[in-house]
Amino acid sequence: MSDLRELYQEVILDHAKHPRNFHAMPDSVRAADGHNPLCGDRLKVFVQVEDGVIRDISFTGSGCAISTASASMMTEALKGKSLLEEEAIFKSFHDLLTTGSHATEDEELLGKLEVFGGVREFPVRVKCATLAWHTLQAALKGSAEPVKTE
């Protein structure tokens, strides 16, 4: 039960139930589809970049609590960030979920995203938490292939 509470923290549940930036954007904006075949989660991430800065970011789709909350909190964390910062935050987030090792500077980078640290104890759920992030990478690279996390 304590592990479960660690996984499903209040802030995660809040974002899962009330996802932020949960809407589509016009076709002119970069977008990519993400799919987790294991659980059927499907997301679409929209990102508007100007002068190397993420001006706007949003998502649509359906997924489990972890993937929805991760997508929602990702959009909040990255809006207004430069692509360089985005890269650093993604790396810290990935490390948090996979190795659990992170330095103090990572904590600053991650901010609220630290709540996903509990996912590390549930290896099959790591892909849920990273789906939106991988999809964002595809949108930024302009990849036409849907992202799969399996």
Partner: protein, 425 residues
């Protein structure tokens, strides 16, 4: 017979037939894994449609083979090899008896139901279908009874037609009737849906296929653990199943095929054991079933499967079926009392499978939280994406029961769902 002596007899692989009412308490001790705990909790294993647990008798049969019988089959002139050959062929005959085939040569050992279907699609398909021919499947099919036919469709230009399902998850028989035509070469249908538990009217469907001049393949992966099987009664041309879903080991399964049809089919894989004579000028093939068993087969798996069939027959497939049905009713009743829970698939004829969705939680979250309570269920699309699409959902949580499950397992599940609601609600 006293419980203890019955148990030891079962563990020796003897058939113990009893007419008394079945109680899982008498046999749970036969399954070592059911005595274990998960996350410090009693294990409620409710993912039997994915794979069943193994009784000691099966584990012992495989250990006995490796300890005292191990040799390659069909070639040695020495005692051990002859013994292993006899045991392997006895296992084949055990399967024949279990599905009531006419001849043990109609039983081909394969890796599982998936390989059996691939064998038919490749070998029978190559020899028998042409551009413009049609193969009928149903929406209920597992991906393993879809993809091999799509691969054949790509190779041979054959068209796949799909029998739709109604809201309850039953096949629309009038649509099936309309799909049948002189172009139909084969009807390949599941006997029991792994995602919904629907039991399909295979006998009638086979009769209709034959009337249209087509052959019929029945995917028995999910029916064999729950229903007595008589391939002559079903009258199908092919019947496939996997050993591991009926208390046997993984990596062994069965393709049953009518002898004349198997004989006329070209080989599936080439290699040792499937030939009569080999020269660079010409190779002649062994008769069935050896023609389809290239290379050293899964000998210990076949022996384990035979032990598993002995074990379930010792209890009796009828008793297993009626007990599971009672437990299914109990589980459906208990689950329908859970607020916000919707059962997906409500066919009148159902095997012990319940798919459901919870309004407050995604199936994946349900699965993770239940795991923390020692409850093992399956979540996802269950290799049945067309079924999920039919209901417009990405996934379900699925409970699948076996005869060793108890009301306590179901209660633990329902209790676990309360925890899901507490955490996510």
């Amino acid at each position: 017979m006293a419980v203890k002596s019955m148990k030891s007899a079962r563990n020796r692989g003897e058939v113990v037939v009893s007419s008394s009412a079945f109680s899982p308490d008498d046999i749970r001790g036969d399954f070592p894994i059911l005595q274990t705990t998960v996350h410090g909790k009693r294990l409620a294993y409710l993912d039997n449609a994915a794979t069943s647990q193994k009784p000691q008798a099966v584990i012992a049969a495989m250990t006995r083979y490796y300890n005292s019988q191990n040799a390659n089959i069909h070639r040695g002139v020495y005692e051990l090899s002859m013994e292993a050959t006899a045991a392997y062929e006895a296992a084949r005959d055990r399967v024949r008896q279990f599905i009531n085939a006419a001849d043990s040569r109609e039983v081909v050992f394969v890796r599982g139901a998936t390989e059996a279907i691939n064998l038919v699609a490749t070998s029978w398909g190559q020899a028998n279908v042409r551009t413009g021919d049609e193969i009928i499947l149903s929406t209920l099919e597992h991906h393993s009874n879809i993809v091999p036919w799509q691969m054949l469709a790509d190779r041979a230009g054959v068209k796949l037609r799909v029998i739709p399902i109604n809201e309850a998850g039953e096949l629309c028989m009038e649509e099936y009737e309309k799909l049948l035509s002189p172009r139909t070469r084969l009807v390949a249908i599941t006997h029991v849906s792994n995602a919904l538990g629907t039991i399909t009217p295979v006998q009638r469907m086979v009769r209709m296929a034959h009337a249209a001049g087509a052959l019929a393949l029945v995917d028995g992966a999910q029916s064999v653990p729950h229903l007595p099987i008589d391939v002559r009664d079903i009258d199908c041309d092919f019947f496939v199943f996997s050993g591991h879903k009926i208390c046997g080991p993984t990596g062994i399964g069965v393709l049953y095929g009518r002898q004349a049809i198997l004989q006329a089919m070209p080989p599936y894989q080439g290699g040792g054991d499937m030939i009569e004579t080999v020269s660079f000028a010409k190779t002649t093939y062994a008769p069935v079933p050896q023609k389809f068993e290239a290379g050293t087969p899964n000998i210990s798996g076949a022996l384990g499967l035979a032990a598993a069939l002995d074990y379930v027959c010792g209890i009796g497939m009828d008793r297993i079926g009626s007990y599971e049905h009672q437990l299914l009713r109990y589980a459906q009743e208990k689950l329908s009392q859970v607020k916000g829970l919707k059962i997906v698939g409500t066919a009148a004829e159902k095997a012990a499978v319940i798919s459901f969705v919870l309004s407050c939680a995604h199936p994946h979250d349900v699965g993770t939280i239940l795991d923390g309570q020692g409850v093992a269920i399956r979540t996802g699309h269950h290799c049945c994406q067309p079924v999920m699409d039919h209901y417009g959902i990405p996934a379900t949580a699925r409970v699948s029961l076996a005869f060793y499950n108890t009301r306590e397992d179901v209660d633990q599940l329902v209790q676990g769902l309360q925890t899901v609601k507490e955490v996510l609600g």
